[in-house]
């Protein structure tokens, strides 16, 4: 599945689509505050762009753009951003995940502090979902080998 297809139509089409998919994933995250969307959906769209890269080209092309070590790090960084925002609220003398108290740190009022607190945790969700989707896909299609399953090309 994840080998070099050498199909010019698929390669060219996905090369055009992938930047727009990633941009759209960020759009869905940013617009999650005022329209349907958010971290889960945006993360899935960004992950789909990397999966399309792995399917249309090959596994190494996808791993060249998103290093395996960086991807594994991203899995944890997202959860860290989420809980870190919660602990930041503790530092600001509020309850855990009580974003209103962030107004003592950020130069905004209580209500906008809740707005930005939500944006921060959605960013964490987006990063974790993106990294975990890509990681699970790569593990499943290569049976954990993280190499092209068909081996080196002759």
């Amino acid at each position: 599945m994840v080998n070099d297809l050498d199909d010019i139509i698929i390669k060219f089409g996905s090369r055009i689509m992938i930047p727009f998919m990633q941009l759209y994933g960020l759009y869905v995250y940013v617009h999650g505050h005022s329209s349907p969307g958010g971290g889960f959906q945006g993360g899935c769209i960004v992950a789909a762009s990397f999966i399309l890269l792995a399917v249309a080209f090959d596994l190494n092309e996808s791993k060249k753009r998103l290093k395996e070590k960086l991807n594994t790090l991203f899995c944890a960084v997202g959860v860290f951003i989420y809980t870190g925002t919660g602990f930041l609220c503790l530092v600001a003398a509020g309850n855990f995940l009580d974003y209103g108290k962030l107004s003592r740190i950020l130069p905004v009022d209580t209500f906008m502090a809740r707005y930005y607190g939500m944006a921060m945790i959605e960013l964490g969700v987006q990063i974790t979902v993106m990294a975990v989707m890509v990681s699970i896909f790569l593990d499943l299609v290569t049976r954990g080998q993280h190499e092209d399953v068909l081996g080196p090309r002759p």
Partner: protein, 93 residues
């Protein structure tokens, strides 16, 4: 014999489930219990309290922040579990 007993149990259980389903609140009933407890407060106060026009996002990320935090943790745990079960490095370790 076992098979007949299983069929009888299935029929009785199905009848009980259908009977309890007939007592459910009607669809889109504004007075059903789920719509009168906290939902009106969230819908009315979301923009005033959080400046977020999308009530889904404010409930998901603010009022129910713990829930979403552990949803994210579950996804993270799923990724770690797949890594532990499947991933083998190329040098055989």
């Amino acid at each position: 014999m076992n098979r007949i007993a299983a069929v009888v149990v299935c029929i009785i259980a199905g009848f009980l489930l259908l009977y309890s389903a007939s007592r459910f609140p009607r669809w889109s009933d504004p007075n059903q219990p789920a719509s009168v407890h906290v939902s009106p407060r969230y819908i009315e106060k979301t923009v005033a309290e959080t400046r977020v026009p999308n009530a889904v996002t404010s409930v998901l990320a603010d009022y129910r922040g713990y829930d979403t935090m552990f949803e994210t943790s579950v996804i993270f745990t799923a990724g770690i579990a797949v890594m532990m079960l499947l991933r083998r490095s190329s040098d055989g370790k």
